[in-house]
Amino acid sequence: METIWFLLLATALAAYVILDGFDLGVGLLSPWLAKTDAEKRQLYRSVGPVWDGNEVWLLASGGTMFLAFPKLLATGLSGFYLPIMLVLWLLLLRALSIELRHQLDDPMWTAVWDALFFVSSLLLVVLFGAALGNVLRGVAFDEQGRFFAPLWTTFLPEPPVGALDWFTLVIALEATIAIAQHGALWLEWRTDAEVSRRAGQLASRLFWAALAGAGVATLLSLSVQPRLLEGLSARPWVLACALPVSALLLVPFLRRRGQQRAAFLASCVHIGGLLFAAALSLYPWLLPATHAGAGLTITSAKAADYSLRVGLYWWLPALLLVLVCQRFVYGQLPAKFSIDDDVPH
C-alpha cells in the first residue's frame, strides 16, 4: 500500500516538475527570448492561462505527502525551514509578476515585474534542484529522528551538511539546464516569429549542456549517496528508467524534422524519467540520512493503513477529474500564441 502511495507521490511531483517546469523555464529564459514589449507580452501570454493550474500540482503533491507520509512532511518541511520559506516568497513574487504585469501599461512598472519574473523563476529552479540534491545526498538526522538544515555550512556534502553544498548546487545547475531547455521547447512550439526562432536556437545550444548535465549528475549522485547504488543493484530493472531519460536524445532529431510538439513531449518524458529514476533508486527511502541507520523510509513515515486505503478511493477518481479539467483548459489555448494577437492594455 505504501509503495502505491510512493508511486502516486512521485507521479504528482513529476507532474509538477514537467508542467510548472516549462513555465519556470520560460521565466528564466525571458531576458534572452523577448526583446520588445510585444514579444514580452507574447511570452507572458504563453504561460498566463496555465501557470496557476500547473502550480496546483505542487500543492497537490504537498497534500498527498501529508496524507500518505505525514512524518516526511513534518520532518522534511521543518528541517528545511529556511529554504522552504525562500521558496514560498519566490513563488509569491513570481505569481505577482505574471498576474500584475499586464495590469498597468507603464514601462517602469513592467520593467520591475520582468526582472522579478526572471529572478524568481531562476532562483526557484535552483532551489528545487538543490532540494532534489538534498534528498539524494541525505540529511543529518538526530536521535529523535529530526534534523534542521541550515542554508549552508561548509559547502561540502559531508556532516555537518547544509541545504546548499557543491553537490546540491551541481544538481541545481543540471536542473536549471534541463528546465531551461524544457521552457525553450515549449516556446518554440507554442509561439511564432522571433520568440519561437530564438527559443529554437537556445534549445539547440542547451541540448549538449543537458546531455552532459544528466550524465554528471547521475555519476555524482551515485558517488555521494552509496544507498542509491545499493538500490540499483537490488533492483537492476530501475535501469529501465534510463530509457525515458534517453528521450532527451530524440529532441534534436525531432526538432530537425520540424516536430516541435513531439520534441517538447520528449523533453517531458526525459524530465519525468529522471525523477522516476531518482525516486526508484531511493526506494524504499523517502529521505535518507548522511550516516547509516537513520532516515525516513516509506514504512516509517507512512500514515495508518486505513488512511492509505480510503485515500486511494478518492485520490484516483480525483486524478481523473484533474486530468479532464486540465486537458480541457489546454484544449482552449490557441495552437500558437502569435505575436499578431497582441492587444496592448
Binding site: E55, A60, S78, L104, A318
Partner: protein
C-alpha cells in the same frame, strides 16, 4: 520572544492576512454566479456588465488569495511539525482533497471566466462561473472541515506510537461541527461579498455615475445582504454558539466574559475583562439572556470560568472576549443596515437615500473585521489546545526550529505582505475608478 510564541504569531499573522481575500472571493463568486444567471436566462446585459466588473475585482483578490494561501499549506509542516506528524493521516485527507478537487477547478475556470468570454461564448462562460463558484466553496469546505476536526475531533483513535489514526472518513466529513462551522463561515463570506458589492454600487450612485450595472450591484448586494446578515445570527450563529457551549464550555465562558457560575446568567454587551479580579469592569448586562439563548430556559445554570482549572483556560481570555463581542456587535449592526437598505430598495427609495448609501459605502471594511474577529473567536477559544482535548498547542509546534529562524521568516512575511497591500490598493483603486462598462463589450484578450 519565546519559540512557541514566534510560531503562533507567524501563523496568526499569515492566516489573518490571507483570509481577508478568500472571504471576499468566496462571497463574490456566489454573487457573480447570481449575476451571470440573470444575464444568461433573462438576457440582461446590465447584469453581465456588472458581473464582468466584479470579475475584475475577483481576479485581483483571487491572485492575492492564492499567493498568501500557498504559505498556509506549507506552514503545517514547517512550523507545526509535531502536530502534522501526529495527525497528518487525518487532516492530510481533507487538505489533499482541497488541492485535488477545489484548486484545480478554480485554477482551470478562472482564466476562461476572466479572459475568454468572447471566445467561448455565453453558455460556456456561464457554466464557468458556476464551476468557479463550486470550486471556491468546495475549497472553503475542506479547510473548514480540517479546522472542525481540530475543534471537535471525531473518527480517530490513538495508535500505539502515540500518533492519531483515522478510523472513519465518513465521520471526518460528516463531523457535525464541520457543517455548522461551514454554514456560518460561508455565511460570513457572503456578507463580505454583499457589503463589497453594495458599497461599489453606492459609490457610483453617490458619484453621479448611476448606470444599470451599478444599480444591479446595489440591488443584489442589498437583497442577498439582508438575508445573509440575518442568517449569520440565526440560525447559523446560534447553532455555532450552542455547539461551543456544549463541547467547549471553557472557551464559551471565556468568550462571554462569564467568570462565575450563575443561575439565569446575563448576556454581557459591553465591559472589560479584568484578569486580576476575574470580573468585568464597567459591565452592561442584559439579565437572564445568556441562559435563555444558550439553554432556552430563563433560569438555566451557566458554568463560569472559575469552575475550571486555570491550565485549561484559553491563554488570552480578554482578546477572545473582545473578538467575540466585536463579531456579534458588528453582526447586529449589519442586520440593521441591510434591513433598512432592503426596505428602501423595496420601496424604490434607496437610490435617493444618500445617508444610507454613504453608510453602505463606509461600512465596507466592517465585514472583514467581523469575519476576522469570528475566526479569532474560534481559534483563541480552542486554546490551550491545538486539537481540542487531545493535543496542547505547546506540544504541537516545531520545537527544533528556533525562535530566531521563525522571527526571520515572520519579518519577511510582514514585509512582503505590506508590499502586497500597497499593490492591491493601487490596482483596486484603478479598477474602481474605471468602473463597469457603460455599453456591452465582450471581455476578451
Amino acid at each position: 520572544m519565546d519559540t512557541l510564541a514566534a510560531h503562533r504569531l507567524q501563523f496568526a499573522f499569515t492566516i489573518t492576512y490571507h483570509y481577508l481575500f478568500p472571504q471576499l472571493t468566496m462571497g463574490l463568486a456566489c454573487l457573480i454566479f447570481l449575476l451571470k444567471t440573470r444575464a444568461y436566462y433573462w438576457s440582461d446585459e446590465a447584469s453581465n456588465r456588472a458581473a464582468q466588473f466584479c470579475l475584475r475585482i475577483f481576479g485581483l483578490s483571487f491572485v492575492m488569495g492564492v499567493v498568501t494561501g500557498i504559505p498556509m499549506e506549507f506552514q503545517f509542516g514547517t512550523n507545526w511539525a509535531r502536530f502534522s506528524a501526529m495527525s497528518g493521516g487525518i487532516i492530510g485527507q481533507t487538505l489533499a482533497m482541497e488541492g485535488m478537487f477545489a484548486f484545480f477547478l478554480e485554477s482551470s475556470f478562472l482564466y476562461l471566466l476572466l479572459y475568454a468570454e468572447g471566445r467561448i461564448g455565453p453558455r460556456l462562460h456561464y457554466l464557468s462561473s458556476a464551476l468557479l463558484f463550486i470550486g471556491t466553496w468546495l475549497s472553503g469546505f475542506f479547510i473548514v472541515c480540517t479546522n472542525a476536526w481540530m475543534q471537535h475531533p471525531v473518527g480517530y483513535r490513538v495508535a500505539t506510537d502515540g500518533t492519531l489514526e483515522l478510523t472513519s472518513i465518513t465521520a471526518l466529513l460528516t463531523n457535525p461541527w464541520a457543517w455548522v462551522e461551514y454554514l456560518h463561515t460561508m455565511n460570513g463570506a457572503l456578507i463580505t461579498g454583499c457589503f463589497t458589492m453594495s458599497a461599489l454600487g453606492a459609490f457610483y450612485v453617490l458619484r453621479g455615475r448611476t448606470s444599470d450595472a451599478a444599480r444591479r450591484m446595489l440591488a443584489l448586494g442589498v437583497t442577498v445582504g439582508a438575508l445573509a446578515t440575518i442568517s449569520a445570527a440565526f440560525p447559523t450563529g446560534d447553532l455555532q454558539a450552542r455547539l461551543v457551549a456544549k463541547h467547549q464550555p471553557i472557551g464559551f465562558a471565556a468568550m462571554e466574559g462569564h467568570f462565575r457560575t450563575e443561575d439565569g446568567a446575563g448576556l454581557t454587551l459591553i465591559g472589560q475583562p479584568n484578569m486580576e479580579t476575574e470580573t468585568l469592569d464597567n459591565p452592561l448586562v442584559v439579565p437572564n439572556m445568556l441562559s435563555l439563548l444558550t439553554f432556552q430556559r430563563w433560569n438555566a445554570r451557566v458554568l463560569g470560568l472559575g469552575e475550571y482549572p486555570k491550565r485549561d483556560w484559553p491563554d488570552n481570555v480578554p482578546l477572545l472576549y473582545y473578538a467575540y463581542h466585536i463579531m456579534a456587535g458588528l453582526g447586529s449592526l449589519f442586520i440593521a443596515l441591510m434591513a433598512l437598505s432592503a426596505f428602501l430598495l423595496w420601496r424604490r427609495q434607496l437610490l435617493g437615500a444618500r445617508p444610507v448609501l454613504w453608510a453602505l459605502l463606509l461600512a465596507v471594511p466592517l465585514p472583514f473585521v467581523a469575519n476576522t474577529a469570528g475566526w479569532m473567536t474560534a481559534e483563541l477559544g480552542r486554546q490551550p489546545w491545538i486539537i481540542h482535548g487531545v493535543l496542547r498547542t505547546n506540544q504541537g509546534y516545531s520545537a527544533h526550529v528556533s525562535g530566531g529562524n521563525v522571527l526571520f521568516s515572520l519579518l519577511g512575511f510582514m514585509g512582503l505582505y505590506s508590499l502586497l497591500s500597497l499593490l492591491f490598493v493601487l490596482l483596486l483603486t484603478r479598477i474602481i475608478a474605471q468602473g463597469p462598462a457603460e455599453h456591452s463589450v465582450a471581455m476578451d484578450h
